[in-house]
């Protein structure tokens, strides 16, 4: 391999877009076209920013912000972009599999790159950042705080997360990705078997973004422990905050094994270590254990905040307090603890003794108990409520129906003896899509629908949102349920081709489902476009379009930078809802309002994102000078931050009072919306008090 000082091992042959002009076969052409999509997309974004004159606000209001709400929105935007790529990859894979009886239109290695990037992107760069984005948006508001505990650290976390996503996007354009799946098991991903840049992209994308996730965990744990408003005891925290706390704890304990294992893999690949190689005592079983010590808690990092969202949704859209709060808290904590005791069920087939397998199998099954409790709690919350069949309830119903089935197949898979037969098969693919789509993805979409008006000041169009929800729910079922059958029939996962014609009808149905999911994605994008166009009609300045129970609804929409004019004091779990029932929700003493000190902006997050990406890219292509330089800038900026003057922004009391008074006055004067009418333009975000309550 030719190496130069300036460009390391980067060569023209790594540049994917050029391959389109080199008489490619169909598989290469598809890969090259995808790289062109990235390039054209990037150019389009630059053009849009220039034409609209958005460069200045981008740098002065967004990229330097420490506001948890804007950071949350940036997390969600990032996840959205990655989601588009992940879905498109899924559709291409299903199209390939439909034709793959004795070989489809992609090469094996191209297909392998697709399932590897699809898995890595969906887990690390869609579901995780989307949930962290929602945590950013909601946690400070729900606990009555002005921001997270460490606003700059929050920016740094976002920066590291972005590094991973950008590196994966770059791998599409330069050099290609690894082919060992999102788990990237060595020795197959070791230097002997994949010497190219692919596994290095994985190592640095996961390693660097993992730092960001770990810092997020620390930040939110501290925020929830230390920043709750007066009266907000632990047992008064909204359920979403509880799940965010558990997720933060999981992040703190689960990410270190992942970071360690990526660094060990890097040592193997770069410095000829032998942690996981075939020779000199390397042992990939250690990798499997360490990866899944992270990997299984990760599953609950993805599902617990989703459970929190469903808890909030079930009480909001049924106009009813959450049933069984204590049970839900206990169940959440139980799941968080148990999640560290089950990792071995990802490799029952590695040859360990029956006793070990049985212990981990039983531990896995135990998780079904708290999870089952939760399902019954949500059903009881809806019982004797006034359930509005809005978009989130469609997601909630789809979630409960399909998640119960997914949990059920999880219990089946927890049996080592059954696992022996269906491990590494499409049954497993069906199972984890069955929990992650209805579980996490639907929750994120339902959450976005619910809280979008809070942060943007207008609701999402109901018609298009409903269409999106139905398409996602039905598309999911059509795509993934047939895979259970395929798995039982013996179709291995990650298989680019098959030789059994009886599989064909199932892969066709599954492809049709994938087309529906593509339709759902399109519909989702349309729903945003339509809503932005109709934003005046959909505006909800009152900030409480769904008659919420919790503190975040006790603010105008969009939420002012300082969140609360006066830090609230709460006396119950359903703080805002109870206040509304008693008619005191909007009363305030103007004399209590004081000037507010907000943290100053910073560019440390942006610097981490830019130089972290350069560092990763330089390491992938062995451009040592650039790697050293980037690392130096990152560390140097971090140290310099301690010496730079820190001038907080002071918002004068008059300004705070003006904003708050106009909102509270309007709330008292404005016509209140009944729940039946909440999708009409008359819903300005002021909720009519609940009528007909028996209590």
């Amino acid at each position: 391999m030719n190496e130069t000082f300036l460009l390391g091992r980067l060569s023209l042959a790594d540049i994917e877009p050029l391959k389109l002009f080199q008489n490619p076969d169909i598989s290469t052409a598809i890969g090259s076209l995808a790289s062109w999509v990235v390039i054209v997309g990037a150019i389009a974004v630059v053009a849009l920013l220039t034409v609209k004159g958005w460069w200045k606000p981008l740098f002065t209001e967004w990229l330097n912000t420490t506001d948890h709400k804007k950071i949350g929105i940036m997390y969600l935007t990032f996840a959205g972009v990655m989601f588009i790529r992940g879905v498109l990859e899924g559709v291409v894979m299903r199209a390939h599999l439909m034709t793959s009886y004795e070989g489809g239109f992609l090469t094996s290695e191209h297909f392998a790159e697709l399932f590897s990037t699809h898995g890595t992107i969906m887990i690390f760069f869609v579901l995780m950042p989307a949930l962290i984005g929602l945590m950013n948006l909601l946690v400070p508001l729900q606990i009555g705080a002005r921001d997270v505990a460490f606003p700059k650290l929050n920016q740094i976390s976002l920066g590291f997360t972005a590094v991973g996503g950008v590196l994966i996007m770059l791998s599409l354009v330069v050099g290609g990705f690894e082919t060992g799946g999102w788990t990237a098991y060595p020795p197959y991903t070791g230097a002997a078997f994949q010497p190219g840049p692919g596994p290095d992209y994985w190592v640095w994308a996961i390693g660097l973004s993992g730092v960001g996730s770990l810092l997020t965990g620390l930040n939110f744990a501290v925020t929830i422990y230390k920043m709750r408003c007066p009266g907000m005891t632990f047992m008064r925290m909204p359920l979403f905050v509880w799940t965010a706390l558990c997720t933060s704890i999981l992040l703190i304990f689960a990410l270190p094994p992942l970071t360690a294992v990526t660094l060990m893999q890097a040592l193997d690949r770069y410095l000829d270590f032998h942690f996981f190689t075939n020779d000199l005592g390397g042992n990939m079983m250690n990798y499997a254990n360490m990866f899944w010590m992270f990997g299984h808690p990760e599953v609950y990092i993805l599902i617990l905040p989703a459970f929190g969202i469903y808890s909030e949704i079930s009480q909001t859209y049924s106009g009813k307090m959450l049933y069984g709060y204590t049970s839900l808290v206990l169940a959440t904590m139980a799941i968080a603890v148990l999640s560290f005791t089950v990792w071995l069920h990802h490799f029952f087939t590695m040859g360990q003794s029956a006793a070990i397998n049985a212990a981990f199998g039983v531990a896995t099954m135990l998780i079904a108990i708290p999870t089952g409790v939760k399902v019954y709690v949500w059903i009881a919350t809806l019982w004797r409520g006034r359930v509005r069949l809005r978009t989130p309830i469609v997601y909630l119903a789809g979630f409960i129906v399909f998640f119960v089935i997914g949990g059920y197949t999880g219990v089946i898979l927890a049996n080592p003896t059954i696992n022996f037969a269906v491990h590494n098969s499409q049954f497993v693919v069906a199972h984890f899509h069955n929990v992650l789509l209805p579980g996490t993805l639907f929750a994120i979409l339902a959450g976005i629908y619910t809280w979008f008006p809070k942060f943007f000041g207008f609701r999402l169009d109901e018609t298009w949102s409903l269409r999106t929800a139905y398409l996602f729910v039905i598309g999911f079922a059509v795509t993934f349920l047939p895979l259970y059958v395929l798995g039982l029939m013996g179709y291995p996962r990650r298989s680019p081709a098959f030789d059994d014609p009886t599989f064909i009808p199932y892969v066709i149905v599954s492809f049709l489902g994938a087309v529906m999911l593509l339709g759902a994605l399109t519909s989702l994008i349309v729903s945003f476009v339509v809503s932005v166009r109709k934003r005046d009609e959909l505006a909800v300045p009152g900030g409480d379009p769904w008659d919420g129970w919790t503190l975040e609804w006790a603010t105008p929409a969009p939420v002012p930078e300082w969140n609360f004019a006066v830090i609230p004091e709460v006396h119950s779990r359903h703080a805002f809802g109870i206040e509304k029932m008693s008619g005191n929700a909007f009363s305030f003493e103007e004399s209590e309002i004081e000037a507010i000190e907000m943290p100053a902006g910073s560019y440390i997050g942006l610097a981490i994102a830019v130089f972290g990406t350069l560092l990763g890219f330089a390491l992938v292509f062995w451009i040592w000078w650039l790697a050293a330089l980037s690392l130096l800038v990152m560390v140097g900026y971090g140290i310099a931050l301690g010496f730079l003057p820190n001038r907080p922004i002071i918002v004068p009391a008059e300004e705070v009072a003006r904003v708050h008074k106009s909102w509270a006055d309007a709330a008292l004067g404005e016509r209140r919306t009944r729940r039946e009418d909440e999708t009409l333009p008359t819903n300005r975000g002021y909720a009519a008090p609940i009528a007909g309550a028996h209590a």
Partner: protein, 372 residues
């Protein structure tokens, strides 16, 4: 075999016929699989699947119906007059939702433990004189060595009906997973380590030896016939071995060279005489030479060169460290397992014991101690 066109007429007709006929579960194919097991191990696993599925169906049906009922019954404007916005606890319901899952999981958990112990892949099946098969996973090929019959089968596994079979399994490339479809569940195979699997065939038939862990271009080819035949047919099959015998010298040429692996082709079965007493041990010992292995000498690497990758030579007894299991079937030395409580490096740390496998007579305690 040439690659068929994407949308040949034959394919379209097959698809339409199948679409019309099926989507009903399960398609009864000619080949043995989980729905048609032809071995007692898989039959027991399938039965366990059925009973867990049925119990589970009882448990998951109520919430499925309840959620639909509750949303419909209590939809706003749906005519229900009862509305309890502040109801948040009921002791009876609370007890039921915790106790219900607890009881079911307790019940299923007991079954889980008993079936896991009963169907331990390392536990020999009843019956005397098990057939020994040493299986080597190569890139896109299975090589089954029959040390007692002194034959080696490439891309085909044949076993006699009614006689228990004990596999010792290793990989001579990256990690793979061996699924003897129709006969038993799967187990991983890793270079330099030995895992075990016991199975038997209860009736004649054909299943598949499937590799389920993606490992590169030839992945989809590594699905070869696995046949159960009568004892007489097995004898005939063994005697049909022909051509040049498989030796340690010839072995490296069986391995596809790097990236030249052809995609999606039907594997060709070959049965050769085997003229090395411990070829399997040599393959395992390749990774225990206390010296780095050059990339070109590592089967599965893109630059693999058969000429540069000889198997270790030497007497059979001296190939592997003395403490290397598995006992009982151990490296040509007979029944004892001198170091049942020690395993090779790494296995101990990871809580797994792919290398220090259990011998036929070992008790549970020995295996547990091997992983501490």
């Amino acid at each position: 075999m040439s690659k068929p066109a994407l949308f040949s007429r034959q394919k379209i007709i097959t698809v339409l016929a199948l679409l019309a006929a099926c989507l009903a579960l399960p398609v009864s194919a000619a080949a043995a699989d989980l729905f048609n097991p032809i071995g007692p191990v898989l039959a027991a696993e399938a039965w366990h699947l059925v009973r867990v599925t049925l119990i589970g169906a009882f448990v998951v049906t109520p919430p499925l119906l309840l959620i639909v009922f509750v949303i419909w019954r209590y939809r706003i404007g749906g005519g229900s007059s009862s509305y309890w916005p502040t109801w948040e606890f009921n002791g009876f319901y609370e007890t039921a939702i915790w106790a219900g899952p607890l009881v079911v999981v307790g019940f299923l958990g007991i079954w889980l433990v008993s079936s896991t112990v009963e169907l331990d892949p390392y536990a020999p099946l009843p019956g005397a004189d098990p057939l020994r098969i040493d299986l080597v996973g190569l890139d896109d090929k299975w090589l089954a060595l029959y040390p007692d019959e002194r034959v080696a089968a490439l891309n085909e596994i044949v076993l006699p009906v009614g006689r228990p079979v004990t596999f010792r399994i290793t990989s001579d490339t990256v990690m793979q997973s061996f699924l003897p479809q129709g006969f038993a569940g799967q187990i991983y195979l890793m270079p330099g380590m030995v895992t075990e699997l016991n199975l038997a065939a209860s009736e004649p038939g054909e299943g598949k030896a499937i590799q389920t862990q993606y490992n590169g271009s030839g992945f989809a080819n590594q699905r070869v016939p696995m046949r159960a035949v009568s004892k007489a047919d097995f004898e005939t099959w063994v005697t049909s071995a022909s051509g040049a015998p498989l030796t340690a010298d010839r072995y490296p040429t069986l391995i596809s060279s790097g990236k030249s692996v052809q995609e999606f082709h039907a594997a060709q079965a070959v049965l050769m005489p085997l003229s090395d007493d411990c070829l399997f041990e040599r393959v395992v010992a390749r990774y225990h030479q206390n010296a780095p292995i050059p990339v070109a000498a590592q089967p599965g690497s893109p630059t693999y060169d058969p000429g540069a990758a000889p198997l270790p030579a030497g007497a059979c007894g001296a190939l592997l460290p003395a403490n290397f299991g598995p006992a009982g079937m151990a490296m040509g030395t007979g029944e004892t397992n001198p170091m049942a409580d020690e395993t090779m490096s790494g296995a101990a740390d990871s809580g797994a014991q792919g290398a220090g496998a259990k011998g036929s007579g070992e008790q549970e305690g020995d295996r547990m101690s091997g992983s501490e």
